[in-house]
Structures are given as structure tokens and as C-alpha cells.
Homo-oligomer: 217 residues x 2
DNA sequence: TAGATTGTTAATCGATTAACAATC
DNA sequence: TAGATTGTTAATCGATTAACAATC
């Protein structure tokens, strides 16, 4: 019986994980829920409640949580130890920037290839020597995904006009997770049950910040 | 007495707004809460509850909400009619990509300038003719913000190492809203009360999608 | 010891869902 | 008319906060 963890909890877990990375403490050091509050802004009560909920009971009174053990627990929940291979569809500026995104290395996420339709991009490679990724044509997607069944996640960075069409294609080829960077809400057909889409994180962030600007308390 | 609207509601409001843009209906057409559910994935009950909460009572039984009126209401809440001027700090690939982001035009967000420290970037301009934006040096930030007091929002696209330092600088110069694109949680000093930061939307999205990949129901 | 910090429960708060009378 | 859809209330659900005994 696996309990389902809400995305809000996952988000906070990723905050704790990032906090640990940032602190860069020796593995045998301890970190308290109060310390995590200082860095993440999540209250220490919430931190302990989350750990309790997730069955993380490795704390020592008066000390806190051992960094090494906590890392292990958080990694397990976030599936960071398993890692993930992703492709980037759309090799324009955002796509290329993401392909070098620092976050990926430390978090065990590997970009294996990019896809585009522009003939001047297709066939080239980008990235640092030793870590170069090929840019392939979008119509090679199907073949690529069949050859690389471990690739289940796509970052979608094509222009707004092409976003829905491209997403439908990705779903058709068996992709199970899509992060959509186009400022457009993409629909997953109702009959598709096992595909997760994260829509429009940039656009939503902008609306929120503009709203807050005009409604400060 | 203005009631405070949570960011969750703001997020859904932006979904409704995006849905209207997408539908592209004549202004005198009507759209029902059920139709909004189809496009946004937000249940029709939730839609009506949100409208009720926000005092949007323009519906007609058996028809729905007139597109024109609904646009007006949603724009008012999202402050789209007032618009927003933003700067982009960090003129690398993500910064440059964002400076041409299509979302901005339709949503009344104007990028007025970019900032960087690289001498080969500073002094040039980017963007389409007629809409060119200058790239200035980061040490011109203070002067720029003083000359342009309407600019209160910054998109932060500098490398991870420079993110916190740059944010502190922005806050010092009076910026009130920051969207952080570095994969790092940035802290606002506790004594600062009126600055809003949206942290790490890309990193969080990735953690969520990886988590979901390994925990499909 | 005294102080700090955990794990856990209970209380509160807020958000979502369901239901339905009103009515076009 | 009958069916569809709103506005609104009440019920449910879930998430956060507060409190505190246990104990290192």
C-alpha cells in the first residue's frame, strides 16, 4: 500500500533537497528542522510534519537529522537515485539553454537528444565536448524513442503555434511526462490516463508576480 | 475591504484567461463553465465557485458568460489592463529567449531592457526592428531603475553562482517582484516585507514530472 | 540539569466538491 | 415546456499550524 504524495509535498521535498545541496555540510553533520526553515522558508512544523507523513524518522533530539541519511531519504522519494533521461523538443534558444542547464547534472537528469525541424540545426551537436547532444529531426522522434525505451520525459520548447500538435505526437510515441514551456495550456485527451503534463510554468509565474505587484498587503 | 486572493486562484484565473484567448470567440459569444472545464481541466464547479468568490456575476442561465465581459473581469483581476514593465537580468540564452517571449505581447507585459556583465553583450540591442531592447551593464541597474520608476519587476536569468548576489542587488535598488529562473532557492531577507520572489519554477517542474513518472497510479 | 529538538496528535484553517433552487 | 446553466450554500476533504510529551 503506497500512499500517494501530493505535488505540494513533492515541491517541498525538492526544497529540502536543494537546501541540503546549498548548505554543503559534511555528511556526518546534522541539520535541524529550524535550520531547514531558515533556508527554505517552510516552517519547522511543516518540515517535521512532512517527514512524519513520509516515514522519515531519522531525527535525533537536540541535534536534528544527519545530512547523509536525510539526503538518502529525500533522493529516494524524489527518485533522484534512479535518474531520468529526457529529450528536448525544440532546439531554439530556450531548448538550447535548457540542454546545458546546471540543475541537470547534480540532480541526475540527462538530456540525451534535442529535436527540431530547422534544417540548419538538424545534424549538428550542442554542448560541451564529451557531453555533446545531437539535434535530430522531429520526424526521427518515433524511431529514437523506440530505440531508447528509457526515455519517457520530454521538455517541450517549440513555438506556441506548434505546441499542441507536437505534444500530441509525443504522446502518440509513448512519452509519459511532458513539461510544456510554451505559454499555452496544452490539453491531454481525456482518454489518455497515464501521461503527465506540467503546463506553462513560466506564464503562470509571470501572472502571479504581476498580480502581487499590484496587490501588496 | 479588499479580500486577498490566493495564488492558487490567480493561477486558475490565468487559465481561464488563456482559455478565452485560445477559443478566440467573437466578443458577443457566450462561454459556459462546462466549456471552460473542457479547456482548462478545472471543474465547472470550481469555475463557478471562483467567479462567485471574486464577485464575477455576469452569467446568464442556459448560456454562460459573455466573452467580452468575462475578458474584462479577468483582465481586471490579473491587472492585465495596467500592464507591467519588466527587465531581464542576465542576457544569456534564457534571457534572450524570454525577451522575445510571445506571451508578453498579448498579456501587456513589456520588456524594457536587459542587463549583463559580458562586455561583448553590453551595448548591443536585441529584438525585432521597432522593438529593440538595449543590453546594459549590470552596474547601470541603479541608475536605470531610478530613471524608470515604473519598472518594478525583474526576471532573473543569471547563472546559479551569481543569482543570490544579483537578487540582493535588485532588492537594494527597489525592485518589488522577481522571478528566479536559476535552479536555486533564493532567500529574501526576513526584514524585507514587500518583495515577492517566485523561485525556481523550472526546477520544481522537473522534480514533479520525474516523481510522477515513477509513481503513476 | 536545563534547553533544544524530535515525533505525533489534535485543532484550525482553507480549498474543493457536491448539491440544488432559481430561471432563462 | 424541458433542459441547461447559473449563483450560492453546505458538506467534505485535505493541508497547515499549534501544542506538547518524550528525550537526548
Amino acid at each position: 500500500m503506497k500512499k500517494k504524495i501530493s505535488l505540494r509535498v513533492i515541491r517541498r521535498i525538492s526544497f529540502y533537497y536543494e537546501a541540503l545541496l546549498k548548505l554543503n555540510l559534511p555528511e556526518d553533520a546534522y541539520v535541524s528542522s529550524k535550520k531547514l526553515e531558515d533556508i527554505t522558508g517552510v516552517s519547522c512544523n511543516q518540515v517535521r510534519q512532512d517527514f512524519f507523513y513520509l516515514g522519515i524518522s531519522i531525527g535525533k533530539q537536540k541535534k536534528g537529522y544527519q545530512v547523509h541519511k536525510l539526503f538518502q531519504e529525500l533522493k529516494k522519494i524524489l527518485s533522484i537515485d534512479r535518474g531520468a533521461k529526457v529529450i528536448i523538443v525544440g532546439a531554439g534558444r530556450i531548448g538550447q539553454a535548457l540542454s546545458n542547464y546546471k540543475l541537470f547534472n547534480e540532480r541526475n537528469i540527462t538530456v540525451t537528444a534535442l529535436f527540431d525541424i530547422k534544417t540548419d540545426l538538424v545534424g549538428s551537436e550542442i554542448g560541451k565536448p564529451g557531453r555533446k547532444k545531437p539535434i535530430l529531426h522531429v520526424n526521427q522522434l518515433d524511431a529514437y524513442l523506440k530505440e531508447n525505451p528509457g526515455v519517457k520525459i520530454a521538455l517541450l520548447t517549440v513555438p506556441e503555434e506548434a505546441a499542441q500538435e507536437t505534444m500530441d505526437k509525443l504522446i502518440g510515441h509513448g512519452v509519459k511526462g511532458i513539461v510544456n514551456f510554451a505559454p499555452k495550456i496544452l490539453k491531454v485527451p481525456k482518454e489518455i490516463r497515464d501521461v503527465q503534463v506540467i503546463n506553462d510554468c513560466i506564464g503562470t509565474a509571470l501572472y502571479k508576480i504581476v498580480y502581487q505587484l499590484y496587490h501588496k498587503r
